[in-house]
Point group: C2
Chain length 472, copies 2
């Protein structure tokens, strides 16, 4: 029996025959996640069903010095769940139970493989919901959301994942199990905050206590069309300056609008628009109409072409489906696309969008912008054709240039998609060597041997910036 | 020249003659902070005026292996700024500038010695404020707030300090200066979250970027009197269950009410009340009255004796002054008092308050409860007389017993005052040895020699629980 065979045998002993994939044809689906530029082949994929099985697998791999990484639904956009090559993937999709709901204290306990949207579906009849709503929420898991500190359209008002995590059970890279938190503001260091967004490099989350919220009494949604990007940008700032905190404040530009109108959920946006805003207000019913009036007035002052309020829940739902499937819709107007994810101060929106347009013109690649304008969280979608020689590399370089623009505008290189495999080198745009070292020293504490999700999140020390495109 | 003398000389070279205190009579004021049970004498107190001076002092002390700790206004309630004995205190009160205000992007940059309330005062004419409002906000510094992750009455709706910190400049224990963040959701590990609430054990914060908020359009405040603690407790749960998120939801019991009526700001609460609630709602003007009506209706269903809305800002101000000076007011009804700070699930309020009453009866010490009921963040004030032999020790043990009740109810041992010197041993109520070790390993990364604020926050490994009362 070869060493590889014996490893598979040992993993099967822990999780059962149906809990291990190891044949090449079965592994192909695990070569990449929703970031498709890089690929890497795992040695095996295991599917533990309990915390103890996760700990057992990790202990075994730790003893054998075999690298490994956790994976949820594989919807990540920066390659955090892609192997470098040879790791064992620990898939958490079998651990998909809703363990406990405590409405009185507003919390729920889930396993990491529990799908984001299912939580809201499970408690909506009682009048509650789970706030963080990444566009992939119908598929992505809450464990993955914790790893990436996922955001979403409604995070403007309600905060990103880290603001909703009350407790974690974690399997450390040596197989130890620890419990963190469970109530707000635990004493000691905020290790829950540290683990959340650590992109699977500090531990594997096996149980999550999340905050749940009471449904707002009412919500209303506004759609506004503009023929100048600047007008839409200024409207965004004016709405916030008016003291309104919308539940969501989304923007799309010409190319993005063209995309969504060719996608699965077209809603009839007129052709040739320069920008649209999708603005939602929620809360106590009594205050909503005044806020909507104010938003409409702001849009008018900023030369809106057309502005209207969703007539009913059905129309509101169509507008959101149109927005939330924007990334996928790009596939209808371009053979390939690369999603970027920069953050800028809200006040710099007009100039940064202008610079992105210039990068697009210089490179010859179209760029669609569809993003969380209220947060200054841009999502430039770089459209390219991987079949054309050099165009993948060009798209990657364009993405990198866009991130540089964000960083130079006082922003940063990721808002909610993470660094993963994709943006390791771009970390140097926003951190000094000392600052990166301070972070990697924290990784050493939890993950001293780099067996857990190796070569993610941080650039290699001392290496010059380089963009490696791996195509196996 | 003795080694001690030469140290003073070297510190003077860095921060100037007027920047160092070293004579015994000058050091006495630095023996304790607002936690008065423990005392410890520093070797010297230095007052750097710039980040470079902080780094210079730290580098020097690091080289000489002399322990040191940072100190703000000394309003901390768990002894985080008290020396064990022999440390150099680095006071940050000279670094008290408001460096920058950016209204458009809703942020301000302050030095650590800038007083909390001054920030709101500096921007209120433009219609903005800084949300975290510890009761000591007229005196406490934002640097100290970061160290303790300070809360306050209005943190129910707006979150504690960590939710308002966008960036930090930090001097590490070896004198290195690092910058963290500056925009929301920086990539990499959340070191800002890790530093916030680390009680001065990971680094010394020298510059802070905070989020500022637009003033709510309107706010209204309700005062409700009850003759059963249970009724008031259920009213708290009912208000939250109704989908209202009050800006503040405070509770006081009989002893606390007696105290505040003997304090500096009596407002004429009738004698013999069992509980009062102070409830504030803020936001868009249009929704406020409906929420107030609902709150009043909830109180009536819970057998309120009297409930009324503040007639004007002056009355609202008096109610808040009465509440915010509650701790100090205890000095008028008891020679000494010990503030505790436990957290419990909101739904367990009635039973935990009952258990605290039993501890009070058993011990013979009166306990006043004045607290953030909406957060389940209790502040039992244990009244005692330090002149009576053994009563200080008794008060400390009562405090510890109260924390055990909170921990056993599924809560924890501090909501906002920190662990400091006071609650190191009680950390064992809520963390296993492995979990404490995971945290101390994080400390090792930043503070490997334990020169920075030694012997705080964590119990000594392997030691049995013991309560050491130090009186020099």
């Amino acid at each position: 029996m070869t060493r590889a065979d014996s490893l598979i045998q040992e993993l099967i002993e822990i999780v059962g025959t149906r809990g291990v994939l190891y044949r090449k044809e079965d592994l192909l689906a695990y070569e990449c996640d929703a970031y498709t530029i890089h690929r890497g082949m795992p040695r095996a994929v295991v599917f533990p069903a309990t915390t103890e099985e996760v700990a057992g697998v990790v202990k075994h791999l730790h003893k054998q010095r075999i690298p490994f990484l956790p994976r949820g639904a594989g919807t990540g956009l920066s390659g955090g769940a892609i192997p470098i090559g040879g790791e064992v993937i620990i898939s958490l999709v079998r651990m998909k139970k809703l363990l406990h709901v405590d409405l009185e204290n507003r919390l729920a306990i889930v396993q990491p493989g529990f799908v984001n949207l299912k939580l809201t579906h499970s408690i909506s009849d009682k009048g509650y919901y789970y706030a963080p709503d990444p566009s992939s929420q119908y598929a992505c898991t809450i464990g993955g959301n914790v790893a990436e500190n996922a955001g979403g359209a409604h995070c403007l008002k309600y905060g990103v994942t880290t603001n909703h995590i009350l407790g974690l059970e974690v399997v450390l890279p040596n197989g130890e199990i620890i419990e963190l938190g469970g109530v707000p503001d635990m004493p000691g260091y905020d290790l829950i905050g540290l683990l959340t967004g650590s992109e699977g490099t500090l531990g594997i989350v096996t149980k999550i206590t999340v905050r749940i919220l009471k449904n707002p009494e009412d919500k209303k949604t506004v759609l506004a069309y503009f023929d100048e990007v600047e007008d839409a940008s200024y409207a965004v700032s004016d709405i916030i300056a008016a003291g309104i905190v919308p539940a969501a404040l989304e923007m799309m530009d010409t190319v993005a609008i063209e995309g969504v109108e060719c996608g699965t959920y077209p809603v009839g946006h007129p052709p040739g628009l320069k920008a649209l805003l999708l603005i939602e207000v929620d809360g106590i019913a009594a205050g909503i109409d005044e806020q909507i009036d104010e938003i409409v007035a702001v849009c008018r002052r900023r030369n809106v072409l057309e502005v209207r309020v969703a007539r009913d829940e059905a129309e509101r739902g169509r507008w959101w489906a149109n927005r939330k499937t924007a990334f996928a819709a790009m596939g209808t107007i371009s053979p390939d696309y690369l999603v970027q994810d920069g953050v800028i101060p809200r006040s710099r929106l007009p100039e940064v969008l202008n610079e992105i347009r210039q990068i697009s013109e210089t490179s010859g690649l179209r760029i669609a912008n569809v993003f969380h304008a209220g947060d200054g969280n841009l999502h430039p979608l770089i459209l390219f054709d991987a079949r054309k020689p050099g165009e993948t590399e060009l798209a990657v370089n364009v993405g990198s240039a866009v991130l540089r623009v964000c960083a130079d505008a006082g922003g940063t290189i990721t808002g909610e998609h993470g660094v993963g495999i994709e943006k390791k080198e771009e970390m140097r745009y926003v951190f000094t060597g000392e600052e990166i070292e301070a972070q990697t020293r924290v990784r050493e504490v939890f993950n001293p041997d780099h067996l857990l999700n190796p070569d993610k999140l941080f650039p290699k020390p001392g290496r010059c910036a380089e963009m490696g495109i791996i195509r196996e």
